[in-house]
């Protein structure tokens, strides 16, 4: 029997089914990020996904940590018996702004072909281009899933101000993960921290969360171009060199001299060491540009007035001695001409200097 089809009924039923699908997604919140074409169809990425110009870099910024790590080469590389696995966390200087994967600190350490206690050293770049200790702790907690033998935690004063901890997008969009760390590793987070992006039920529907779904799909598709070209960053033909002349400005994040531990997110450092547990972790005060331009007697560089940075170095030294942390201060090992577009971004030669300086620490921490 042929029943007449009523278009309006079809439309209403279709809309109802779509609404149900959306509600199911919101209620279920499937963790699709764990599924990845990387390390199966394509080789894993040498560094975490980040990119502001996907069409040129074949890379994009997203906030799904599962998807980010699933796309990384570390997720698809079973640890061999003769591998000495080093993971490096930190900011854009570790990730390697303007550098090709092989030119980053991890790439340069691998190029050194180090042998630690009869094992081949293999370094993994888990840096991410925003500056926040809390963001580093999040990445560290993921890195622990991959059984590192040594962790290099590269940091700088700019990662310490309290207001920077959860304002970085990776932390702001991952409140649940940050709160987990607060519970499991005493990471200090305020109950009503307004930096966290709260998702309403509607934001969790397929339509409400369409950006995250699209980002996940684009990450998978761009894997083809990553495989085809090895490009994961847009490399401009020219860039503006890091600033070396400054105003006579001594201010630093509304903080006043002298800098104290209470001004800084020391708790995030402590949580990081708790996350690392028994795994050796070397805390590194990373190299920065020391300017000799206008008002360089007041400021070291764009980020830091001298008083704040000098106080910070003293605090770090005291802290590491007090807590028995492995700590190395490499703030001044790279000359000013080996910085690129920022006071913390190194040239390939600068990264090489850093790698050579860190290599002995890697070797002496094998077991």
């Amino acid at each position: 029997m042929n029943q007449e089809i009523k278009p309006l009924n079809v439309l209403i039923k279709g809309l109802l089914l779509f609404a149900l699908f959306n509600l199911a997604i919101a209620a279920w919140q499937p963790g699709v990020g764990q599924f990845s074409l990387y390390n199966i169809l394509y080789p894993g990425r040498e560094r975490l996904p980040f990119g502001e110009n996907p069409r040129q870099s074949y890379n994009l910024s997203l906030f799904d940590l599962d998807a980010m790590f699933a796309s990384h080469v570390i997720a698809g590389t079973p640890k061999a018996d003769d591998e000495f696995r080093v993971v490096i966390v930190g900011d854009s200087s570790v990730w390697g702004t303007l550098l090709r994967p092989e030119e980053t600190l991890a790439g340069q350490l691998n190029a050194e072909e180090l042998n630690a206690c009869g094992k081949t050293v293999r370094a993994y770049n888990l840096g991410y281009p925003t500056i926040s200790l809390t963001k580093d702790v999040i990445l560290l907690s993921y890195a622990m899933n991959y059984d590192p033998d040594l962790i290099l935690w590269m940091t700088t004063l700019e990662a310490f101000p309290l207001e920077k901890q959860t304002s970085t997008p990776l932390a702001a969009y991952n409140e649940e993960k940050v709160r987990e760390l607060a519970t499991s590793h005493q990471l200090r987070i305020e109950a009503g921290d307004s930096n966290f992006v709260k998702k309403s039920f509607w934001d969790k529907t397929f339509i409400g969360d369409r950006r995250a779904w699209a980002d996940f799909l684009r990450l998978q598709i761009y894997g083809a171009m990553w495989s085809a070209t090895g490009i994961d960053q847009a490399y401009p033909t020219g860039y503006e060199k890091a600033q070396t002349d400054f105003e006579a400005d001594e201010s630093y994040h509304d903080l006043t001299s002298p800098l104290s531990e209470d001004d800084l997110a020391i708790n995030a450092l402590e949580s990081g060491f708790r996350v690392a547990g028994e795994t050796p972790m070397l805390l590194v005060n990373e190299p920065m540009l020391i300017s000799s331009g206008a008002n360089s007697d007041i400021r070291y560089n764009f980020f830091y007035p001298r008083w704040a940075y000098d106080d910070y170095r003293e605090i770090m030294l005291e802290l590491s001695e007090r807590n028995n942390w492995m700590y190395v201060d490499l703030w001044d090992i790279v000359p000013a001409n080996e910085f690129t577009n920022s006071a913390i971004h190194l040239t390939p030669a600068g990264e090489n200097m850093l790698a050579k300086k860190l290599a002995p620490y890697v070797l002496e921490n094998c077991r």
């Binding site: 079809v10 439309l11 069409r55 799909l217 761009y222 083809a224 171009m225 085809a228 070209t229 490009i231």
Partner: protein
């Protein structure tokens, strides 16, 4: 075309279909199409051009109607003219109400200028109506004007000097002239419809058509930017008919399929499809094939997706636009590929170029040989199709590639048809022949796309070399 605009078109068509059924359909399409051609025209660096370009389209359409069409109902046509002028004036008046400036890319020009343009159009039409004994010449002039504008738009050097002229006219920096400044949206398709109308009039087979029907046909908003290229007599048959209600469901399906093809499949493939940048970045033959395949499928899903969208929205309005694609990549030879790829364009070229030129060549006292005639007509037709996309070396090579391919297929098919039929006597052999034909045709077309996708023959050649492992 942005998704929100397509959804707006679909919603408007659906609401009209539900609320008004076929009452006032022509007027609805007329008004909607006039608004849409202004709405879709992107912002251009030449001052006011995003308003003048659609207005020029309308002026040209009205002019061609005036010289080509037998207008059965003068009163109705004056009313249509008044409606079009009214809509344009209303759009122009939004210059005084910024909140309503949603249908033009930039602030519309001064209203006095628009009125002057109206006056110019009116005077032209009046003068033309007094010179009836020259009507045959007007058709030729209209044809030359349309083809001339088309060539100006598609030839980089001519486009550049046109931009230069308009920039100097508007007091803008002429040294900042770029050919992309002359992006007259939808003109390619408008030109093809107008040429079809003029040629049919010259051959005495144009049906009588009122102005509102004619404008609705030429700038029919679902098909304005990406076709298909309908024929006037078929379009107005639908427009004047009333049997459309049962199409709503099919229209919705077609629209959804089109949206999926365009915004999910094609846009995803676009991320990895061949372009000028990645052509130089990809080194291995394997990945080069991947991005070439991605381009081949991207262009298909993009174009056929837009066609589905156009067919879907048109069907909501009771217009059954012609199909443009019929699984072209599954065809076993190049001739069949072109019979199923952008079908309305190839039919247009067949009707207005290939067939007439073949007839003309055959009419020679000493006709050239059949193979030579096939070579000439196939290559010339495909070259013209290439030029339709742009008068550049790459489109020329693309046209040549296909023209020669069609010729080779024609000769090969003639020479081997009997042998192939004798060999392929079992279903398995027929399938093998068919599949190998499909693969060969697809790869021939895909290699042709390299010239289409890239901006220079040198870059395209480098990609071809990389595909075959020659660096």
């Amino acid at each position: 075309m942005a998704l929100e605009k397509i959804l707006t078109f679909a919603a408007a068509a659906f609401l009209w279909a539900i609320l008004f059924r076929n009452r006032g359909r022509t007027r609805f399409i007329l008004i909607a199409s006039v608004v849409v051609i202004f709405w879709l025209q992107p912002a251009l660096p030449i001052r006011g051009f995003d308003f003048w370009a659609p207005l020029a389209t309308l002026a040209l359409v009205i002019l061609v109607w005036f010289i080509a069409a037998d207008a059965p109902n003068q009163r109705k046509n004056y009313a249509s003219l008044a409606i079009v002028a009214g809509v344009v004036l209303l759009l122009n008046l939004t210059r005084f109400i910024p909140a309503l400036q949603i249908f033009t890319a930039s602030r519309p020009p001064q209203i006095e200028t628009t009125l002057l343009v109206f006056l110019g159009i009116g005077l032209t039409l009046t003068v033309l109506s007094r010179l009836t004994r020259f009507s045959a010449s007007f058709l030729t002039a209209g044809l030359i004007l349309t083809i001339g504008l088309f060539l100006t738009l598609k030839t980089p050097a001519l486009a550049y000097w046109t931009v230069y002229f308009f920039r100097s006219l508007s007091g803008q920096d002429v040294y900042a002239s770029r050919i992309t400044d002359f992006a007259w949206l939808g003109f390619s398709y408008v030109a093809f419809r107008l040429i079809h109308v003029i040629r049919d009039k010259q051959m005495g087979r144009l049906p009588s058509v009122d102005l509102d029907e004619f404008i609705a046909y030429v700038i029919f908003f679902p098909a304005f930017t990406a076709g298909p290229i309908d024929r006037l007599e078929r379009f107005i048959k639908d427009l004047r008919g009333s049997d459309w209600q049962s199409d709503i469901l099919t229209a919705g399906q077609r629209l959804l399929i089109g949206l999926f093809k365009k915004f999910v499949v094609a846009d995803s493939l676009a991320l990895i499809a061949l372009n000028d940048t990645n052509a130089t970045q990809v080194a291995s033959a394997f990945w080069m094939w991947v991005i070439v395949y991605a381009y081949a499928f991207q262009i298909y899903f993009d174009f056929s997706g837009y066609t589905d969208i156009a067919l879907g929205i048109a069907a909501l309005l009771g217009i059954k636009l012609p199909e443009n694609f019929a699984s072209p990549y599954l065809k076993p030879n190049l001739t069949q590929f072109w019979n199923n790829w952008h079908m309305t364009l190839t039919q247009w070229f067949r009707a207005y170029f290939f067939n007439p030129i073949t007839r003309w060549l055959r009419s020679w006292e000493k006709p050239i040989s059949i193979p030579m005639m096939i070579l000439l007509t196939q290559v010339a037709t495909m070259l013209l199709i290439g030029f339709w996309h742009g008068v550049t070396w790459n489109f020329t090579l693309w046209g040549l590639w296909h023209g020669i391919g069609l010729f080779i297929h024609n000769r090969w098919s003639d020479a081997t048809k009997a042998k192939a039929a004798a060999w392929a006597i079992t279903p398995a052999k027929q399938a093998a022949l068919n599949i190998s034909g499909i693969l060969l045709t697809f790869h021939y077309v895909a290699i042709g796309w390299i010239f289409f996708a890239l901006s220079s023959p040198a870059a395209a050649w480098q990609v071809v070399l990389k595909l075959f492992g020659v660096h």
